[in-house]
């Protein structure tokens, strides 16, 4: 099963209320995904350098010591803040350099996302617990996508929790299952894409990262995904400035989109959209199979 939800703001009107509007959408999808939940929020962009979301199993992990270690090792400056088991690090350095340093020297620190705007927060447990744990309702930003998981092909662990990010500011959530993920993971690894888990959804995220690296636009990358990815899926994708929804040709995994002058919202089921402002007069429809829906800042 699984539930997916996304909210993309078309203007500034609700930016300060993004988390508050999104929290009930996540909780409404508890029946579809009670095992783990997570979200990727885009906002608070850094102008230079890279923003990482990092996670450590130990709530009392010494993030300050890690920040100092990075500053010394890479001769750079680190700004950071902690949110429960997660810390957001803003580092003035090349992303690969920081990621390699962390993997080699601090393998117990999990890198959840990297980019200029994205932050990924996820945990095992009921969506309501995760929403409260990270104080989602206080968060601000331009767009956010979330996932509530009912585990099928892998265990109920942090590693299997969505969303997945495999490239800068890119994030994907998925309802369904992919049948050709194993071979595709091998091919993508040969092309330099790094994977942290054996999860099928991470392969879809990795595939999009690879296509975008090859110069595809988000739309082109999704067109290629429709040709190459085999299985059942509804995807919702976030990039630094964009938001996309796509369903496989059979479209048996549900999706509904609502659009007003102020926002685009998607959810697995309409009941996750009922708390949004102006939903009574929103344009509400089900995305067509094999059809790519993209909203991007500056292009529409």
């Amino acid at each position: 099963m699984c539930g997916i939800v996304g909210l993309y703001l078309k203007n500034d009107k609700y930016q300060s209320r993004l988390g508050e509007l999104f929290a009930p959408m996540m909780i409404a999808m508890t029946e579809r995904g009670p095992d783990s939940a997570g979200f990727a929020i885009y906002g608070d962009a850094v102008e230079s350098g890279i923003k990482f979301t990092l996670r450590h199993e130990d709530e009392n992990y010494d993030w300050e010591a890690l920040a100092k270690a990075i500053e010394e090792a890479l001769v750079t400056k680190v700004d950071w803040f902690q949110n429960n088991k997660v810390a957001v690090f803003k580092v003035e350095a090349d992303a690969d350099l920081v990621e390699n340093y962390l993997r080699e020297n601090h393998p117990d620190v999990l890198i959840m996302s990297a980019g200029s705007s994205i932050e990924i927060l996820k945990e095992v447990g009921l969506p309501e617990r995760i929403v409260n744990m990270f104080n989602l309702d206080k968060m601000q930003g331009s767009h956010i996508i979330g996932h509530t998981r009912m585990a099928t092909e892998s265990a109920v662990t942090m590693a299997g929790s969505h969303p997945f990010s495999t490239g800068m500011d890119l994030c994907l959530v998925h309802n369904g299952s992919l049948s050709n993920h194993n071979r595709m993971r091998q091919e993508l690894k040969r092309n330099g894409i790094h994977f942290d888990t054996e999860n099928d959804t991470e392969v879809a995220a990795g595939y999009l990262t690879y296509r975008l690296q090859q110069g595809d636009s988000l739309h082109q990358a999704l067109e290629n995904a429709l040709k190459e990815l085999d299985g059942f899926y509804t995807f919702t994708i976030g990039t630094k400035d964009g938001f996309a929804v796509v369903r496989d040709p059979v479209a048996c995994k549900p999706a509904v989109i609502a659009e007003t002058d102020d926002y685009v919202a998607m959810a697995s089921e309409y009941q996750a959209l009922t708390t949004l402002p102006g939903i009574e007069n929103a344009k509400v429809w089900e995305p067509e199979p094999s059809t790519i829906y993209v909203w991007e800042r500056g292009s529409n």
Binding site: A251, P254, Y270, Q271, T274, E286
Partner: protein, 227 residues
Amino acid sequence: MKTIDLAKETVRDLNQALHDQASACTETEWEVLNPKGQHNLAVGVDQKLKIDIKGHAGYYCGGMNKEADIVIHGSAGQGVAENMMSGSVRVKGNASSSAGATSIGGLLVIEGDAGSRCGISMKGSDIVVTGSVGHMSCFMGQAGTLVVCGDAGDALGDSLYEVHIYVKGQVKSLGADCVEKEMRPQHIEELIELFERAGIKEDPHAFKRYGSARQLYNFKVDNASAY
């Protein structure tokens, strides 16, 4: 009229109250407020009731309906009126996939569009869609009538048995063993009668008829030597 507000009561309360009418009918007119896309509204009703759902419904609304006339004043999620036995379900908005799936009798009217697999495996109901239907509609349809006033998506009537399909607009593609057939006077009469029951105004002469070529659905004796 009895009003049930789902902001205050649960879907279980609603359905139990409706089911209680089967043994002793005390109230024939029902109104449901604040459905907000919840699933399983007014399923398994077994009494001649009139039920108005004031808003959008989730999955399986009006499923297994017997005798009741249910109106959804909004859109409906997957499987609206699935396995309906008799009575009617009317959707004022759009319906998601698998509308009227396996329905055995009664009338389903969708005033907007229906998603994919509309009327999948229908077994005797009548389904009238004022808008368009998605792909794989009427897949393995066995009996009844599917009328589409707009367009039909890919693979209409795939592996069809004996449903009468009528489409006014474009058919993107026909499924295996589904073919266009001649409109004879009895088909015009069938449509006139159906439009009257559905309360919609359409010219039956504007429709094309599709049905089974009957090449797939039973064993061909020519294949006997293969065993």
